[in-house]
Amino acid sequence: MPFIPHTETDIAEMLATIGAPSIDALFGEIPTELRCKGLSKVPPRASEMDIARVMHGRAAQDGALLNFCGAGAYEHHIPAAVWEITTRGEFYSAYTPYQAEASQGTLQLLYEYQSMMCALTGMDVSNASMYDGASALAEALLMAVRANSVNSSGRVLMPQAVHPFYREVVASITEAQGIVPVPLAFDPKTGATLVEPLKAFEGQGITAVVIAQPNFFGTLEDVDAITDWAHANGALVVAVVNPVSLALLKPPGEWGSKGADIVCGEGQPLGAPLSSGGPYFGFLTARQQFVRQMPGRIVGRTVDLDGKPGFTLTLQAREQHIRRSKATSNICTNQGLLVTAATIHMSLLGPEGLESVAAHSMANTEALVARLTAIPGVELAFSGDRFHEAVVRLPQPVEPVLAALAQRGILGGFDLSRHYPELGQALLVCATETRTAADLDTYADALRAVLGAGLTHH
C-alpha cells in the first residue's frame, strides 16, 4: 500500500487494542447513507515508474520556449545551490515554526530574510512573506487604510500603468472592505504616470497612492514627485517594486523627501523558477511606525532562559489564530519555502551580483529593442527611461504573430492589445541576463520572418 507502513499483524494488534472488529467499524459514527459508494473519476493507482513516464512525456510535450516574456514573472539564473539546499527535508517538510525551540533554522533564516528585504527596499520592518506580489498589493492597501489615521476613506489612486492582473486581484480581495481604486492615466508618449492630474485630487481625502517602479511597461516613474505630492495631501505611498531592480534604482525608503510608507512586490525574481506562475512569494516592508498594522508572520530575535539569543514568531496578537475576526488579515500559511530559496539566492548573489543581474537585464532589453525596431514597421511605443522591459508596436495584430513565433520555439512577449487597446498592436518584451546576443538575433530574425510572411499573405 503506497505510503502506508502497516502489516497485517499491526492492523490486527491495533484493532484489538482499540476494541474494534474492523477499520470500517471506526467510521461507525458516520450515518451510513453518507458513506461514499466509490470513486469513478480517480484513475487506478500508478507506480512511481508509471507516473514518471507520464510527467516526463507531458513536460517534453510543452518543451522549453526561448523566453522574451516578463510581465510580472522573470527568467533569471538561479544558482544550483539554491534549490539543492531549499529542498533539504529539514526545510521542505517542516511546518510553520510554532515550536520555536525546534524550528530555529527556519526562524533564523526568516529573520535574515526580513533584514535583506529591509536593506533592499530601504525600509525599517518586513514581514515573513505574503502569497504573491498581487495579493501583497491588496494586503498593503488594506494595511494603508488601517495605518492612515488622517485619511481612511479607502479611496486609492491606482495608476493604469500598474500590472492589470494586480489591479484585478486588488479588486477581488479588497472590494468588500471599501477600497475604491481611482485610476491615474499614463503619458502616451513616455509611458510614465502623469503627475499633473494629481492636482485634481487635492483635498479629496485620498488614503494612499500606488506607485509601481518600474511600472508594467518597464517605464520608470517620477517617484519623488508623486511621493511628495502624496505626503503633502495626507496620503500614504504604497510602492510596488521589482526587487532585482533595487540593486540599481533608488530604494522606496528614499523616494521624495520622506520615503514610501509601505513597500510590496513580487519576490519571484529572487530565486523562484517561472513554474507556470507559482509558487512565488510576495514581500511587504514598511516604516517602523506601521509594524503593528502589518499582516502575516513576523520573526523577532530574543533570548532564552539562559540568556542565549534565539528567534521566535512575534507580534502574534495581530494574527487570525489569536484575534480571529479582528485580525489584520486571514493569512496563515505564507510562502516559507520560496523565502528560503530567496534568502539563499540573495546571499549567493550579494550586492554586486544582484547589481550585475539588474544591469545585464537592462542592457539586454535595450539591445533587443534596437534589433526589433530595426525591423520595418516595428517601433518603440514609449520614450521614457526603462528598466528591463519595453513596449514595441507591431505592424500586424499581435496574437497571430505570437502564435507564429511559438511555432518557431520563441515566447515573444505579452500581448497588450486586450488590456490596453489604446496602445494599438503593442507587445511587451523583456530580455534578462539569461539571454545571449545570439538569442536576441534569433528572436529578431524570427520576428522579421513572421512579419514578412504576414505581409505577403495580405
Binding site: E101, D304, G310
Partner: protein
Amino acid sequence: MSLAAVQPLLIASVPEAPAAQPMLAPLTPVEPLIFEVSRAGRSAAAQRPIHPASVTLPPHLKRGTPPALPQVSELQAVRHFTRLSKLNFSIDTHFYPLGSCTMKYNPRACNTLAMLPQFLSRHPLAVDANSQGFLACMFELQEILKDVTGMAGVSLTPMAGAQGEFAGVAMIRAYHRARNDLARTEILVPDAAHGTNPATATMLGMTVREIPTNAEGDVDLERLAAVVGPQTAGIMLTNPSTLGVFERQIAAIAKLVHEAGGLLYYDGANLNAILGEVRPGDMGFDVIHMNLHKTFSTPHGGGGPGAGAVGVSQRLLPFMPIPVVGQSDSGYRWLDERDLPQTIGRLSAFMGNAGVLLRAYVYARLLGREGMTRVAAFATLNANYLQARLREHGFDLAFPTRKATHEFIVTLKRQKQTIDLTATDIAKRLLDYGYHAPTVYFPLLVPECLLIEPTETEDKETLDAFVAAMCAIWDEAKRDIAFVKGAPYTMPVRRLDDVRAARQLDIRWAPTAG
C-alpha cells in the same frame, strides 16, 4: 543549565522506559547571522555574468549606496544554510503529530517530477499550444478533486487554505448578491472553528456569529435553529470538527441552513479524515476548500507554500475564481472572465501555486482510487490506536465517549490541577524525546489540550514509542515538576522570552555605524 547537570537527571528519571529516553545531543553553538560572516569584497563570483554591463540611469532614479546584502563565498552560504536546516524538526527527521496540520510523509517523487526542467521554465503567460502537457495535469487534478469531494466544479487558483476560504465566502456573497438577496450579511461559525474562518468572513464584510458546541462535541442544534434566518449568508463548518470528532447531525444542519436560504461552506482542513469515505458534496455542502498541503501531501515548507483549491456545487459554478482549466475539441485552455462573467475574480497574478498543484497531482496518481480511501482508513486507525494507548496509560480524553477521527484531544486539566503539568510543559519536553509537539491550546474550548494527529504514514512502532515518551514525561513531572518546566534541554535554545520579543522588537539586522 549545562549539559553535565542535565544528563544524570534524565537517566535517573526514566529507568523503567529505556525505549523512551530523551536525546542527548550536545547543545548546539550559536550559528552566527549570515551578515556577521560577511566581508567587503567577498562574493560567489560564479553566480553572475563574467563581463560587466554598463547602463545609464538618470541620477534622481539611481541608488546611492548598495543594499546591505551579505558578501560571502559560495561555501560560506552553503554551510550556513545547511547548518540552519539542521536546527529544524521536520517530517523527514521527526514524528510530527501536529493536530489539524496533517504532517504526513511528502513523497519525494512528487517533488522530483514537479521540478522537471520544462515545468520550471514554463512562463505563466506561455501560449496554450505550448502548455497542453501542463494543462492536462491541471485538468485531471480538477477532475480528481471533483470526484473525491463530490462537487460540480473545482478551481485550483487559491494559493493557501485561507485564500480558499476567502474564495468560498466570496462566492457565497456573490451568489446572494446575484439574486439581489442583499440582507444576507451574517456568517455562522462554530466556536471550535479555526481562527481563519472568522477572519475570512470579516475580510468579506460579513458579520460573524458564533454557534456553541455541546458537551459531546457536536454543534448545538437548538442554538443554531434560533439564529438562522433571512440575514444568514451561510455557515462555515469543518467535518470532522476541530474537536477531532465527526459532526453526526450534519444532515440536519444542512437542512436547517438551506431552508433558511443560507449556504454551507466546508473547511477542508480535516479532509484527510474522510478522503474517499465521505464526500462533502454528499453531506450537502455548497462550497469547499481543500488544503492540498495537508490532504494531498504537498510540503509545508516551514510555513508554505500551500494550495487551497475550491470545489463548488452546481449553483456556485458561475462564481468560481479564475483562471480555471477548460477542455474543448482543440485541447485544454484557460477560462477567464470572458467565459465566467460572474466570477469573483482573480486571486493571484497568474494561476496560483502551479508547482504545488503538480505535486498534488502526482500524489493523487500514486495513490489512485483505492489509495484515497486508504488515507482516511489508516489515518483513523492510527488516531484511534494512539488514543486507546494513551487512555490505557491514564491520560484523559476530551471526548471519551466518542471515536477518534484522524485526530483526537487529550486534556491535561487534571495534571494541571494536581501537579501543575501543563500542555506547554509536555510539548516542550517532548522535543527532548525527539518528537515534535502536538498542537497545544487549540481548540480554545478544551483546557490544557493536546490535539494529536498521527497521520496514516506513521508505523505502529513510532506510535508506541511516542506513548512511552508521554508516560515517561508524566513520570518525570510527578517526581520533579520544576525539571519538566525547564525543558527543552537538548534543542538549540531553551524556552524563549516571547514577552521580550514583542516588547523589545528586534526584527531585522542592521549594519552598525563605523
